[in-house]
Subunit: 187 residues, 2 copies
DNA sequence: ATTAAATAGTGAGGTAGATCACAGGGTATG
DNA sequence: CATACCCTGTGATCTACCTCACTATTTAAT
């Protein structure tokens, strides 16, 4: 199981056994049941999470109690409310399990420590962050340029497994469309 | 003028004179006139840009020739088509001047070099990238949760100067709303 | 096994915003 | 100074999508 994290990192930077054992000291492992919260809106955000197995949603609930899914996080993805995490402010979103999930957790101090002690990890995190930024910008572009039906088709093409793992209502909340409208797309 | 870049970096990490002079070796300075392109969709993306003065738009043109503005870049901002830049693939967007603009340019090799030779610069770039990611995610949230009028009001509150520097049509292309609809918001 | 609770489909009606068409004012260029 | 072009506002019509209401079906809980 620790190998999952190591393989993930070594896709980008090779690590010595010694380096990896230091990396491990900065992480803890936690398990959550379906529907449990890793943190909730308004709370402190103690960790950033690497998903070893399972599925999470990063979700914002607006004043009319509508849920909007900012991001899903499946195996091999990193997730948190990064604004709240880095600035140590209350979460503006919640992070919740859509399935039973196992995560590696790292505190903001652990993150700094890792960057300071293992420069290779800073390279790794920079590449992850750049990739995350590019992905987010592509999502913005998709929201600007395509209608809901096209976004739905893009999504099932890009993440075919996701559509089978989450309810249509969750997909709709991610796509920015109502459950009912989404339902009419494939009928 | 070189001080602009140094001050920008030193807001996050202090640099010795020696370090900064190495940093400078990785950059070139270029000037562009209003409406000029730094690169166009389909072309190679030679640089990432730090805006010393002026204003840029990162823009995607769809199949019906509608422009969609993924991002503006004012003084002190970094901009490029980062996917194309890092992966050395043809640009999917264009970067164009909305005003006469002076930029610092860094090639992908320069970027790598900088990270390798000056670890502090890697920290700097990681913080910038994280901030960029957080910003992009907030824009996604804004597109998911609010209507065009609310997004317009958010924008003029967050970047009051921007609304005075660009045409309403450009604002509309950024907000994801038609020029005509935007016009009706303040009348 | 029975009840309760999610989940998914569908009709009817309403609304935000798009699109098309046109007109007036500003400003750049010869 | 005149012509051309860009920018902005505004009316009229159209459409993608939302909201509300109801039903059917599957899944979870006692």
């Amino acid at each position: 199981m620790l190998e999952t994290l190591r393989n993930h990192i070594e896709k980008i930077v090779p690590l010595t056994d010694h380096e990896f054992s230091f990396v491990l000291t900065q992480f803890t492992v936690e398990k959550f049941k379906k529907n449990e919260f890793l943190f909730q809106c308004g709370e402190n955000v103690p960790y950033a999470y690497y998903v070893e197995s399972g599925l999470l949603k990063l979700v914002y609930t607006d004043d009319r109690a509508n849920e909007h899914i900012v991001s899903f996080a499946m195996e091999d993805w990193w997730e948190s409310d990064f604004h709240a995490y880095f600035h140590q402010t209350p979460a503006s979103m919640s992070l919740q399990c859509l399935e039973d999930t196992t995560v590696f957790c790292i505190s903001p101090e652990g993150y700094q420590q890792l960057c300071r002690e293992v420069p290779k990890m800073e390279s790794f995190l920079l590449q992850k962050s750049n990739a995350g930024f590019i992905g987010a910008q592509q999502r913005i572009l998709s929201l600007l340029t395509t209608n809901a039906k096209e976004r739905y088709e893009q999504l099932i093409q890009q993440y075919p497994t996701l559509a089978q793992r989450v309810s249509k209502a969750q997909l709709a909340a991610y796509l920015g469309v109502s459950r009912e409208t989404l339902s009419r797309f494939y009928s």
